[in-house]
């Protein structure tokens, strides 16, 4: 068997050599979402971050395969024993697109700017956490001081909103920086035509790719037209016609047909972060009753959702974070297998008796749960399916669609019975965002405020040692899933289609596209 494999490899070798990407060429990238800004410190959108990746480099790089932290613009780092300061040794001979050198002062400038951005602060400030200040030790050494220990920092500085920016350009351009920002990355922003496209051109001086990149030196592609194509069917069409060489976020239903097209290749990426998840509001009747939350979890067949909504392109969620995220532990199957009979029993025991219409009631109150779901939030097909499954065990889920802004407001007021949310995030500390008391005014859709959970989340966020830290997150996941404050449904999966002449496409840890290694074979 092994010899056959070896022979096959030998035969294939010349073929793969022939298929090597040649330098040069231009591509069109069909992107799903419009961007709000190109200023990394203001943006709140994944759509913008996908472009940031192309024209910036980050201090660290997270290996998408195992979530490990690797050197990026920082060659090495040291963490103080109290976890409150991080010293980064920076790479030399790195230049911004405007020709100015990348150094410790640029890192300090960038992080200080995140605290006082030219506009409403975006995700960058949240990512930077308890930042207190930075000290320039020498031109290539910078120390980041924190108000309290913050272990996620090493992964956070691997995210593009925290990538170093040119202080010279930012100061000179002012508000215009958000139109044509300047980083150190393999591509440079040439122009942004709002609602239409962003043009990126190759940085000819680029010589500092991270170690996981497949090649050295400047990017293969000369130019990328990043076109906003909001309609999924249109993204599929332009991929088929060859108008676009790469189309992101394909609709699950289109994949089967596209796979039969010999000119198209489908790539699947599983991002670190949280699965598609619903959160029962633990402060509002009737989801305030643990029995109701537990029964609801047992009543939902995750596999049915995978089959019917995701056309088999993903898998049932194992926990409240998903597999590539460090610390992930699959607890769903053991704690909450699909079991409508058990769901009914739990409700019976809790005193919920079926009424004439099949919906249960207790003390004259019907078992009604209001699910406020967001427009275009990705749950609109799952919601009616879950509604039907809940009805089977006597729970009446009422669906109300609202624009996301209003949905978030309803959460803050606690008006919802169920909220939905999912993240792309490289660190298990995302559980803090969803479940910590301090986030009641931000996200925390279950409105959970549990001192025990808070304590464990704070502990985990402060632990510098990676091993024990992840063990703690495993414990937290089990407690959270048991409490019923979150029901992970299906793992997120990213589907990208490329024309077959496109080589070297890679996903980063949260499945954003990395185009540095991309080239065309003809």
């Amino acid at each position: 068997m092994r010899t056959i494999a070896a022979v096959a490899l030998l035969l294939l070798a010349p073929l793969t050599a022939l298929a090597q990407a040649k330098p040069g060429g231009k591509i069109v990238f069909a992107a799903r979402q419009d961007i709000d800004t190109l200023d990394p410190h203001i943006t709140n959108r994944a759509a913008t971050r996908k472009i940031l990746i192309q024209f910036t480099d980050t201090l660290t790089v997270i290996n998408p395969k195992d979530g490990k932290v690797l050197p990026g613009l920082a060659e090495s780092w040291e963490v103080a024993r109290d976890g409150k300061s991080y010293t980064f040794k920076l790479r030399r001979n790195v230049k911004f697109h405007d020709g100015t050198p990348f150094d410790a002062a640029a890192v300090k400038f960038t992080f200080d700017r995140i605290q006082e951005p030219l506009g409403a602060p975006g995700v960058a400030r949240a990512f930077l956490g308890p930042y207190d200040g930075a000290d320039v030790i020498d031109a290539h050494t910078v120390r980041i001081r924190l108000k309290q220990p913050y272990a996620p920092l090493l992964r956070m500085v691997g995210l593009s909103p925290l990538a170093p920016l040119s202080p010279t350009a930012a100061q000179k351009m002012g508000q215009d920086f958000s139109r044509k920002p300047v980083g150190t990355g393999p591509f440079m922003v040439k122009e942004w035509i709002p609602k239409s496209h962003v043009t990126l051109v190759r940085n000819p001086d680029y010589a500092w790719p991270p170690s996981i990149a497949a090649h050295r030196g400047p990017a293969h592609l000369e130019e990328i037209t990043w076109r906003f194509v909001p309609e999924a069917t249109t993204r599929t069409a332009v991929l088929q016609t060859g108008e676009a060489q790469i189309s992101e976020d394909l609709s699950y239903g289109d994949v089967a047909a596209l796979e039969k097209n010999p000119d198209v290749r489908i790539l699947r990426g599983v991002p670190a972060g949280t699965p598609w998840t619903i959160f029962p509001n633990v402060q509002r009747f009737p989801t305030s009753e643990p029995a109701v939350r537990r029964a609801l979890h047992h009543a939902i067949s995750k596999d049915a959702i995978v089959r019917l909504v995701f056309h088999g392109q993903s898998q049932a969620a194992g926990s409240l974070i998903q597999p590539p995220t460090p610390g992930f532990v699959p607890v769903n199957k053991e704690l909450f297998p699909y079991d409508p009979a058990r769901a009914k029993k739990i409700l019976d025991e809790a005193g919920w008796k079926p009424g004439a219409d099949g919906i249960r009631a207790k003390d004259g109150k019907r078992l009604e749960i209001l699910w406020i779901f967001g427009t275009n939030n990705g749950y609109e097909e799952m919601a009616p399916l879950i509604q039907a499954m809940a009805r089977e065990v006597g729970i009446d889920i009422q669906l109300r669609e609202q624009p996301r802004v209003q949905m978030y407001e309803a959460w803050r007021k606690g008006e919802h019975g169920i909220g939905e949310l999912n993240w792309w995030f490289p660190d298990p500390s995302i559980l803090t965002t969803n479940f910590h008391t301090s986030r009641l005014q931000a996200f925390n859709p279950p409105r959970l405020s549990d001192p025990e959970i808070d304590k464990l989340l704070d502990q985990a966020a402060a632990m510098v040692e990676e091993g024990p830290r992840m063990e703690l997150y495993k414990k937290i996941q089990r407690l959270l899933v048991e409490s019923g404050a979150g029901i992970g449904l299906v793992d997120q999966v990213t589907l990208v289609g490329t024309r077959k002449e496109v080589q070297g496409f890679a996903f980063n840890v949260v499945t954003f596209p990395v185009l540095y290694d991309v080239g065309l074979t003809r």
Partner: protein, 300 residues
Amino acid sequence: MPVIVGVSVVVFSIVHLLPGDPVLAILSGANATPEQERELRAQLRLDDPLPVQYLRFVTRAVVGDFGRSIFTRRPVIQEIAEQLPSTLELAATAIVIASLVGLALGLLAAVWHNTWIDRAAMLVALGGVSMPSFWLGLLLIFVFSLQLGWLPATGQGGVSRLLLPAATIGLNYSAVIARLVRSSLLEVLGNGYIETARAKGLSEWGVTLKHALGNALIPVTTIIGVQLGNLLAGTIIVETVFSRRGMGRLAVTAVLDKDYPLIQGVVLVSALGYVLTNLLVDLSYSALDPRIRHREAAQA
């Protein structure tokens, strides 16, 4: 003018009375403290009483200053100026297509009244008006981009990229025009002077084109003007399906983001466009029917 003032009041009230808070929208994700929230609210001047905000909005709007977008922080008028040409181009082409197709179908149907040609033309018109534009758009992409490979499906620039989106809107409205041309022509063809023309020995086509069409076009022109409002609404969907930039895309983003100044600017500019077109339509009557001009002159 009263239309514009009315629209400004209505738009201002609606966006402020609806639930949803732009400050929270901007800060979502940043885990902001209540102070940061107050600070931003004051910075955006959303903490003033509503009448004060309205007066500020109106006094600035009359000189073309709609304020800055809450999200991009750029002047609203600049955001609109960037998107408007694309939509105008689309709308103008769509009107031309709608008028040509509508006129042709209506003429065919009227001249061959009560024959299979009439019924076929009206069936086509019925199809055009019944098909939602998002579906018709995808259908056109499927046929002309995917199957035939004649035209690109998305983007900007050149007639080839304009044709499919303009046809999507145009075909929708051509149906209304076709039906109107038909009924209006049939009415005119029943008049006595048409009989006279026929008696002179003119062919049926000659009668229709020379004597009937001009008079039949007056209600049609009105409808084209009125349809322009709907047409602008149609661009919202079509711009999304064909990934074109324009006012429609701008409007959708503004509404979803609750970007008050941008919504107000977009709606006011659209209302202004609507009013101007209808003025143009009114003026065009006199070109089509000299009597209208004479009557006005007599009154003056």
